[in-house]
């Protein structure tokens, strides 16, 4: 039997999530309003608000936003898009494969939304040149963005949240989620070639004309600031390198600076902020220009969500659900199965960020009675791959569909669902089997 406070908290939680899905009110405003209600009612005491907000996630996002905003100014993304287009040599199938791979790789290390926002116009332009239906190419781009984002700690916001809360390292993501993302990418590319390959055939003459037009694009001309371009690439590579060694950076630094404690570690957020600071100093761009382009609405959205979920924790609702779950499952395999598929299907409906925010404290609670290490990966798999299920399941989906709609190309909900759900089931199933194999559950 729920208490009044628990009921109110649930109502606020559900209402906020409905508002987030519907987006008649901006998602950040909805999250802040929900947070305001639970703080006002004392469900989350003011002095505990900051403990509920995961600043690791927020500062990591902020740091990467600063780096990407500066890198964008140099024409980096446009240059990548043109180079990718040229490599395809006029072949539609190669355009599909290359854009999918490039989207996946870039999404793995940089923000999904910015990646697809800046690659989609070029992809649309090329499909117009090829006189082919752009829908398969756009779908492949969306799916690749979500799959690629699953591969690393920084690739997708759910992974950032999970890593920050569970203390998982960048290398753990690379070794566990990386192979899953790789296998899923191969499967998806084959899937698209089988389904759409025939409709992507062009004659040799047409291919030559397409290649000629694309080759007239100038990837060097797209670089508006060559010095900034080089600095951005250097800092991005440095940040990625630091991510690889963040959990054991003390060992490396101790070699050069013996006064450094070998046990020193860097949080991912620290890596991102250090990278941002280096690029800000080195590039000499006006900081106001960069800081005003930080997606403050996204950061307030996250903060609001954390407070609302904090209310669920404080009122014991999370504990109730976790006890129920623990009763329901008798083996770690069952727990993994439930978390994986529940988070995948729920992500397809709700949007993976609020879902992950809600499930993280649930898994933490379950850790009292079982080893939850595999469950973090189950959540990562479900939340990231679940983003492929429906048109509204992940931010990258909405961005690609929105850009396409503005250019007159419409992908209906059902059209997306038919492909998205098949991909969701395949990628999650394959990923689940791989996770079970990794954790010796097969």
């Amino acid at each position: 039997m729920l208490t009044i406070i628990q009921l109110i908290t649930l109502v606020v939680f559900i209402a906020t999530y409905i508002l987030i899905i519907d987006e008649r009110i901006h998602r950040a405003v909805a999250a802040m309003a929900g947070a305001a209600v639970v703080v006002f009612l004392g469900i989350v005491p003011w002095d505990s608000v900051l403990t509920h907000i995961d600043f690791g996630t927020i500062f990591l996002l902020m740091g990467m936003m600063i780096i990407i905003n500066i890198a964008r100014q140099s024409g980096l993304f446009e240059s990548i898009a043109i180079r990718t287009a040229k490599m395809a040599n006029g072949s539609p199938i190669m355009v599909l494969i290359l854009f999918s791979v490039v989207t996946a790789v870039v999404s793995a290390f940089l923000d999904n939304v910015t990646t697809v926002l800046l690659l989609t116009p070029m992809l649309l332009y090329i499909t117009k040149l090829m006189n082919l239906n752009p829908v398969p190419f756009l779908m492949a781009e969306i799916l690749s963005s979500n799959i690629g984002g699953a591969a690393t700690l920084i690739g997708d916001p759910p992974n950032i949240m999970i890593a920050s809360s569970a203390g998982l390292t960048f290398n753990e993501f690379i070794t566990i989620m990386g192979p899953i993302a790789l296998v899923d990418m191969v499967i998806i590319i084959i899937f698209f070639l089988v389904i759409y390959g025939r409709s992507m055939k062009v004659t040799k003459e047409e291919q030559k004309v397409i290649a000629k037009t694309i080759n007239s694009l100038d990837e060097k001309g797209a670089i508006t600031d060559p010095k900034l371009f080089k600095k951005s690439v250097v800092v991005i590579l440095l940040v990625v390198a630091l991510f690889f060694i963040h959990s054991s950076i003390g060992v490396y630094l101790n070699v050069i600076f013996p006064f450094v404690d070998p046990a020193l570690t860097l949080e991912p957020a620290e890596v991102a902020l250090i990278g941002a600071a280096i690029l800000l100093i080195w590039s000499r761009v006006q900081p106001e220009e960069i800081f005003e382009k930080i997606e403050w609405t996204a950061l307030f959205f996250f903060a609001g969500l954390f407070v609302i979920v904090g209310a669920l924790v404080n009122t014991g609702i999370i504990e109730m659900i976790s006890l129920y779950m623990i009763d329901m499952v008798s083996t770690p395999f069952e727990a993994m199965f439930i978390i994986t598929w529940f988070s995948a299907i729920a992500s397809a409906i709700v949007d993976n960020i609020p879902l992950t925010a809600a499930l993280i404290p649930l898994i933490h609670d379950m850790s009292a009675t079982m080893d939850v290490y595999p469950l973090w990966w189950a959540l990562s798999l479900g939340a990231c791959m679940g983003g492929n299920g429906t048109a509204i399941a992940a931010s990258a989906n909405v961005v690609v569909l929105g850009v396409a709609a503005r250019e007159g190309i419409s992908i209906s909900f059902m059209e997306f669902l038919k492909v998205g759900m098949v991909v969701l089931v395949i990628t999650v199933a394959v990923g689940f089997v791989m996770l079970c194999a990794m954790f010796g559950m097969l």
Binding site: V113, L117, P121, M122
Partner: protein
Amino acid sequence: MRYYEDLIKRKFKGLVGSKYEMLQKEYREYMLTEEEMRPREIKKILIPLDFSVTSVPDSIGALLSVYETAAVTLIFITDEQVHDIIKASLSPEAGEEFIRTKEEYGTHLLDDYEKSLTAQNISCKRRMIVGNKRQDILKIAPDFDLIAIPKCYASNNPNVCTVSGDAIILAQSLGQPTIVF
């Protein structure tokens, strides 16, 4: 379906905000409509001429021969305002003489242009009018696909002209593709 379309618009606006307008500027050469993607067909070319144009450049024939099926209209314009001033300040006969002199020059110029263009297998029509060198071209230009303007067109000093003011203004004002040669 309507709800879904509106939902995507709302979510897109929430995620991307005003970045999309910036993106459209940065990527304008890639965000073309179907019409803009199709290369414009050039069937009719207009070349305005006047007393300031002194010769036929060798390059014009080669340049316009790229448009294999296009027909060129040469139009020689005598300034109506100058004619009216001469007619009013001197005499109607002086005005007529002004026009006759200009049109005699115009006939030779049109002959030279026609000869140069037909040598490149470009079909030509020719006209002579008395009118305004800028306004009349702006008026008739919408009937043509390409306007090729001699650089000294309507120049006050053709011997030292690089590009005349009227040529620049026409190139800026015309909606059609324009070349100044």
